[in-house]
Amino acid sequence: MIWEEREQGLDAGAKILLTMLFALAVVSTPPASLAAFAAYGGTLAWISALCGVSFRGMFFKAAAVLPFSCVAALWLPFAKGGESIEIGGILALSRPGLWIFAGVAMKSFTCAAALSLLMITTPFERLTAGLYSLRCPAIIVDMLAMTHRFLYLLADEGRALLRAARSRGYRGRWLKDALLIGRLIGSLFMRSLERAERVADAMRLRGFEGEMPGHSKRSLGVLDWCAVLAAIPALIAVRLWL
């Protein structure tokens, strides 16, 4: 399967482009065309099955967006005006509000599932390399890769700080303890600063003079272009006729 992470598979840049096209198609689909959404879901299920990605894992990763959808849109069926539907004679729901809520929930869920599939099948280093193939400015891609490298280190430091504070009997409450949390985050910043200085010294010792070496002139291959060019009419067809 070309979507899998293999030497002869798709370039990560093409995967990002395909995910973007897919998301654009999903976002622009009117909520009423359920057949189109079924097609989108089917495509994702098919690719995940071919790649051996567990559908459940993808589902649960994508379900993380649902709380936001609910907070932002769940009250729409109650508040939006227009024609209303009576349920059991007690509850009056607005039909346009219901459609907006259903559309928003389906679209955000489908796109999050597509992003999770991209994420599960492609390591982040490949994704940044893919951004080179998409002609992103080198400075942005280098910084992205570097930020991602320090991410887990600093997140661990943050967790360690929090654990240390908790073991001293502290329980952070957002507003009540904001100043304490601020001191915690301040010392996290100090640690990130020290790390930056150490890394800067190490980089200078290895001869860094403002530009990262070693990324060859990557670009999309024939296979990548074929996949992208085949996906566009397919998505347009689903979008227009389903």
């Binding site: 949390i181 100090m190 930056a196 200078r204």
Partner: protein, 326 residues
């Protein structure tokens, strides 16, 4: 405030993406020049991005089973300057989108606009305006940063609710008060945290504020005179805020003149196809925009901009006349 896919309409996302690409382009160009002049800058920017991510991961209970987290745009703007703040926030948002499926791919530009541009550059502009007004000394600087981060959170929430409303996802008169009241409280936490971090960094590593000092021609703890431009900019921001925020809540009762006209019976004389129905924004509403609150807000926005532009042109003309006479 990470908006997923499907909430924002195509035109709004296109606008957001255009603004984000322009802002990230400018800040990447600035960063690239800085890194070439001083290679140490690159790990500093990268670890700052990672720091913002780590700080955002620390969730703190707000109460009622929900938790809030720190956003950080204003803090980075105060520590490293506005362009670094935009860059760091964009890096964090891109990684959260591509690596953690947090925030939508099609809404990435809009998210960068809300949290990077408004959260970073917006906070910096507020600080520029406040710095000469608030007292000198580290206390004044800490207060400046705290207020700026509150304003940046509220502005980002305002932008978020306007985007949701213009996309037709939720009606403005519902989403605006809900978002603003929630984020007015969340902003207090953000402000206190920013202030605490700044005071810690000021006491331990004052040299970090070099970017701020370089951009503004003075130490952050000094209070200095700013140019007329930044004052004008500050006035514009304040006026826009008042116009957009408060106009829907302004009194629906007739003003003094209208009341008198009503009582004296000459209001009808000015009704109908008279001057004010032919005006571009009749009765403080924007034609063609349905929702009343939204329509009034838009009218407030357009009116404020029009007044600002008129004043700006008038001052320019006056200056030119004076120079010609001299």
């Amino acid at each position: 405030m990470h908006i997923p896919d499907g909430f924002i309409s195509g035109p709004i996302n296109t606008l957001g993406a255009a603004a984000a690409i322009a802002a990230v382009g400018v800040s990447a160009a600035k960063a690239s020049a800085e890194v070439r002049a001083n290679p140490q800058r690159m790990p500093l920017l990268a670890t700052t991005g990672a720091f913002v991510f780590a700080a955002q991961m620390l969730n703190f209970p707000i109460g009622g089973g929900t938790s809030g987290h720190f956003m950080g745009g204003a803090l980075v703007a105060a520590l490293l300057g506005p362009w670094s703040a935009i860059l760091a926030m964009s890096l964090v948002l891109t990684i959260q989108c591509l690596g953690f499926a947090d925030g939508g791919l099609t809404a990435l530009g809009t998210n960068i606009f809300n949290m990077g541009l408004i959260g970073g550059l917006g906070a910096y502009l507020v600080m520029r305006v406040l710095r000469p007004i608030l007292p000198a000394g580290s206390g004044g600087f800490i207060a400046t940063a705290g207020i700026a981060s509150w304003v940046s959170i509220v502005l980002a929430a305002l932008a978020c609710s306007l985007e949701l409303a213009f996309s037709g996802t939720s009606p403005l008169e519902l989403v605006l008060p809900a978002m603003l009241s929630a984020h007015a409280v969340i902003g207090i936490g953000e402000a206190l945290i920013t202030a605490a971090v700044i005071s810690a960094v000021l006491s331990a590593r004052p040299d970090i504020f070099a970017a701020w000092a370089k951009l503004n021609g003075g130490e952050p703890t000094e209070s200095y005179r700013t140019g007329a431009l930044s004052l004008a900019l500050g006035g514009l921001i304040l006026a826009l805020l008042l116009g957009v925020f408060l106009s829907p809540f302004a009194s629906a009762f007739p003003d003094g003149l209208e009341k008198v006209a009503e009582v004296k019976g000459f209001l009808s004389a000015s009704d109908g196809s008279q001057s004010w129905t032919a005006s571009p924004l009749p009765d403080y509403s924007t034609p063609g925009v349905g929702a009343e609150g939204l329509s009034t807000s838009l009218a407030g926005l357009i009116g404020t901009l029009a007044v600002f532009l008129t004043g700006f042109i008038a001052i320019k003309l006056a200056g030119r006349l004076r120079r010609e006479r001299a």
